[in-house]
Every structure is written in C-alpha cells, then in structure tokens.
Amino acid sequence: MDWHTLTAALFPHGCDVREEHQVLTGEGRAGAGMVAVVGTTGHVPIGVETALAQARFILQTVREHPGRPILILVDTQGQRLRHRDEMLGINSYMAHLGKCVELARRSSHRIVALVYDQALSGGFITSGLMADACYALPDATIRVMGLPAMARITKVPEERLAELALDNPVFAPGPENYLRMGGIEAIWRGDLAAALETALQLDSESDTRSALGLARGGRGLAQRVIAAIVAGDDVLAP
Amino acid sequence: MEHLTYIFQGGTRRLARPADVVGVVGSGNLEVLIEAAPLDGACSIDIATAAVGFGAIWEAVMTDFHARWQLMDVRIAINDMGATPAVVSLRLDQAVETILETP
C-alpha cells in the first residue's frame, strides 16, 4: 500500500503528510485530536540524513506540540550500507533517533508505529521498535537480513535457512511471527482508522514485549530469564 | 553435534567450591563447567561437541583426566567447538585447579 492511500485510510477526517527524500512528515486528524506523523517510504535505506530528519521532526513535535501522539510509518530496506555513513557514525545517528523517541514517550507523547511495507532490522530498530507498541499490515515483511547475506555470515547453507524461513518462528519474515514473539502488538486488518484509534488509547509506558512473547507462546525463555534475574533466583520458573 | 557421557567411580577428592566455569565456546576451544554434586561418589562428565565421531579419543582423554585427579561427587559439563585433545586436557586441568584453590 502506498503512503498516500495509507494515510488517507488512517485519517478519514483529514491529514497533511509530505514526502521529502523518502522521509514522511506531517499530521493527521484522529478522533481525539491531531497526530504527528513521521516515517519513511520507498523501502529507503536508513542513512544518516534519514535518521536525522526523523529525529528533527520528533524533537520539533515535543517542543511545539506537547502531548501530541506520534505515529511512525515504517518502510525501509534496513540501514544504508556505505563507508561514508559508517565514517560519520551512523550508529550515533540511529541512537539519537531512538533517544528522541524515548524522550517523546517520557514527555507524555503516545508513540505508535506501523510497518506498512518492509522493515529490516537496522532500519527500524530505533524507530518502529522504540514505539510504545509496533503494529503491522498483514502483508508487511519484517526480517533481520536477506538470506544470502545471512548464509554468508552464519556459514549456514542458504538452503537450510530458506527451509527454516518457511515456518520457523525465529526465521520466518512475517508479521505473524513477530506477533507471536511479542515484537508486534497486533496486525491491522480492515478499518485502519479504527485500529489507530484503539492503539492511541492503549496505555503502556513500559516495555511488555517479553511478557507478550511468553503469553503468546512465541518466545518461551526471555521473560522467564528476566523474571528470574529480577527476583534474584538462580532457576527459571517453569 | 554429538553428545557423550562418561561416569567414573573410585575417586577420593572433593571440590572446595560449588561451581566454576573455564574456557569459551569458540572455534578450537571449549568451556568446562565443574560442579560439586551428590553422585554417590561418582565423577560424571557430559560432553556436547561439534566435532562428530571422536568418541574413542574423548574416552581416552576423560580416562586420563580421572586417573590424574580422582574426583568424587563432581559433575563436569563440556561445550566443545572442535578443540584438540591437548586443549581439552588443559581446560579440564584449569577447571579443577581453579576450583581446588583456596576460596
């Protein structure tokens, strides 16, 4: 779904979202009031400029529109793979974006993210995955890395990874798996505006994804490990 | 991966401390977890190894180890990523020496 159609569906009461160099910024009118909109399109690789532009918009929102909810729209092929971006410190630009999202949350802005097309690890780890809750459209692709590169780095044959990517929750690149593992709060089908309204009401300042992953059966160990350490236990609860 | 277990009897030395770990599971290396455990005097060694088909060599190295240290009521667990017998013996000895030291 292209971002024009998407934002029109999300904001039937109207919206004003612009694109510049594949970065989206703007606002939309939801039931309870205006929502700031920021994100990317065109499967853009997230480089220093893209991270910086999104961060600037979020800081501007915190400065000029206290308490306004923020919707992050995610469509990216991952971090930009260039010597220049590494030299400049792309990890710092990404961290800065993540910190801006965190600041907005602490300043009482609700942060909702929606993967509407593609999301690859580095590209959304400091935007979508930093939200209060991250959602996805049913045919979104969420993955850590393409299979050929993964095969090269892990030394696991590509055929084996492809086999696992078919139905193994750890490897399969769909929103269903991220849902089961607690990485995605829900998949939005049908009335997107209604789904957004519901998301904006959801009250959650703390990171509950590991508990979600356990409850949904997709990530059986993380929450139990966390709970054991917090409780000072040396064994996991069953 | 291959999983091997060896159980030895007749040992006489106990461990001074409950548990310790030595080594790292990297290429050509292994980790050894050594613990005091109520095993009716036995010394049990569990091995998970990425190098398949070397059972006879593992048995020889473990037998030498038990002859050397004669441990009792000890559980040893190994995660191995292709270490040579010499490195395996070294790590096992390091593990025992570390845990027999004054606490």
Partner: protein, 296 residues
C-alpha cells in the same frame, strides 16, 4: 596479563572490578542456554555468551555485564538479551551507583534472527529506562570483535563510552558493506582503513566516545571509575537532545562529502593525520583533545 583485548569476558570482570566482588546473576551452573542454536547444529554456551551481575568498583556498588566475543562474536540471542534486560531492570530496583557494560558484540545473533532483533530492542529500552531512573550507564569497548549492529546503537544510548584504539564502534561491518556495495565502496581487507573509519581514535575525534585509553585492563578500570564518580545529567532531556541534533547536523554538513577519514581529521585541524594511528593513547589524546568534536 594486562591486555583488555586478549582477556575473556570473565577475566575482564575479575580485573576491572574490585577483586572477588563480582556476584553473578543466573550463573553458568543454571545452564540457561539458547533454545535456538540446536536446530542449526551450533554449540551452546552455559551463559549464552554474557555474564551479568553486581560488583564493586573502588568500593562503589555497580551492576555489570560482560559480553564474550569468543562465543558467536558476542552476538545477542534470546537468552543473552534477556540476561542484559534482567540485570538492567534489577538495577532500577536496587539503585547501584552505575551500570557498567563491557560490550563486545556483532549485534543481533543471526542464528536467532527475529528473537535476537527483538532482544536488542528490549536492551535498548532497558538502558534508557535505567538512565531515566537517574542511574548512569557506562560502556567499555575494547574487544577484538568490536561493538557493532544493534549493540553499536545501544552503546550510543549510554552516558559515556570508554574505548581503546583497538576497539571499534559502528553499525555495519566492513565485510557486509563490501558485499552489498562493492570493494570500491569499502575494502574490508584494508585493516588500516577499517580502523580509521570505525576505530577508537576516530570515534574519539568525532566525540562519540568520551575517553580513549590504552589496551590495558588497569586503564579501563581507572576510566570507568572516573566516569562513574563524575557522572552528571544522566537522564535524557529535550535540550540535550536538541544540542545533539545540532551537533550531528553540523557533523553531516561539515564532513558529509569527505571520502577518507584522514581528510576529516585534517579538517579538524590535525597537523599530521597520517601519524595519528601510530601514537600511543596518552600522546594521541594530548594532541587531539583541543581539536576533537564536542561529543554527546
């Protein structure tokens, strides 16, 4: 042995912090191993490549973690990440003087793909939660595997980074870039270029690391202690982030067209940039301190 680079994670913990003070949470004897490596026929580690717990630093109570670069490159899987998150959440409850993270990691553990990605994201939020609770988070980087990927981002979410010349801090490794964009873009075998681009001295010049030390455990300990003792302005603030926005914008405007890191150093006012990689840590810091970018 004095070298931080050559020490294992546990050796670093034993020697950076006060002797005998490290108390481990969920130690190897708990055998909490990766539930995912078996299906790829890969060996597990009893601590899943990270030791977490509490310790003392010159008598001060701190919570700590040390990633073992020798196991899967220190990469973060489900259990590894959960151990970090557990320690960070417990730190908020126990209120130590600081959290000190000995980072050495390739980032998300690809063998655990989706679980690893969510895990790193949870670590990121947990680090920022600790800062919000007023507890400083200090990162030490000096292992052979560097600090890459999602952990390279986590590092820059901390209050301060102590790095050695041998350390590297970046997002994507040079091999990944070369594979994706060609050897002209980044020759991964040109080690000198790799360190000029991602190594400790370059990051110190950019202001992304607060302290540059020699490769010695004693130097890391001293620097960590100084950072813990002197920590101020721990939580995120709008004005601090606006300042960082301005710095990162200026960095991009000033150096966005630069091809070779030495050009950047020359532009900063370094008289003999080709000599910088050869300088010892103290001499390097003395020479560049007045020239380096503001940082943080």
């Amino acid at each position: 042995m004095n070298s931080y680079l050559e020490a294992t994670a546990r050796e670093r913990l034993a020697r950076v912090f006060d002797p005998g003070s490290f108390q481990e949470f969920l130690p190897p004897s708990a055998r909490v191993v990766s539930p995912h490596l078996g299906q790829l026929n890969a060996p597990v580690a009893f601590d899943d490549g990270v030791a977490v717990g509490r310790a003392r630093l010159d008598g001060r109570p701190v919570f700590v973690a040390a990633q073992e670069g020798g196991f899967m490159g220190g990469a973060v899987g489900e259990v590894h990440g959960a151990k970090l998150v557990g320690m960070l959440r417990r730190a908020i409850a126990d209120a130590p003087d600081a959290v000190v993270l000995l980072l050495e990691s390739g980032g998300v553990r690809l063998h655990e793909a989706n679980a690893g990605l969510i895990a790193v994201s949870e670590v990121m939020r947990a680090v920022l939660d600790v800062r919000a609770a007023g507890i400083p988070v200090i990162a030490l980087i000096g292992g052979a595997n560097g600090c890459f990927g999602g952990m390279g981002i986590v590092a820059r979410c901390t209050n301060a980074i102590v790095i050695s010349e041998e350390g590297r801090l970046a997002m994507s490794g040079p091999e990944v870039i070369e594979t994706a964009s060609g050897v002209e873009e980044f020759d991964a075998r040109d080690r000198a270029l790799v360190w000029r681009t991602t190594g400790g001295k370059h990051r110190y010049l950019l202001g992304d690391c607060q302290v540059l030390v020699a490769d010695s455990v004693a130097a890391f300990r001293a620097a960590a202690l100084a950072q813990v003792a002197g920590a101020t302005a721990v939580a995120l603030t709008l004005s601090a982030l606006e300042r960082e926005q301005a710095q990162l914008t200026a960095r991009l405007e000033r150096f966005g067209h630069v091809r070779e890191p030495m050009e950047l150093w020359r532009a900063l006012g370094v008289a003999a940039p080709e000599a910088l990689p050869l300088l010892e840590a103290d001499a390097f810091v003395a020479q560049v301190d007045a020239l380096r970018l503001g940082g943080h």
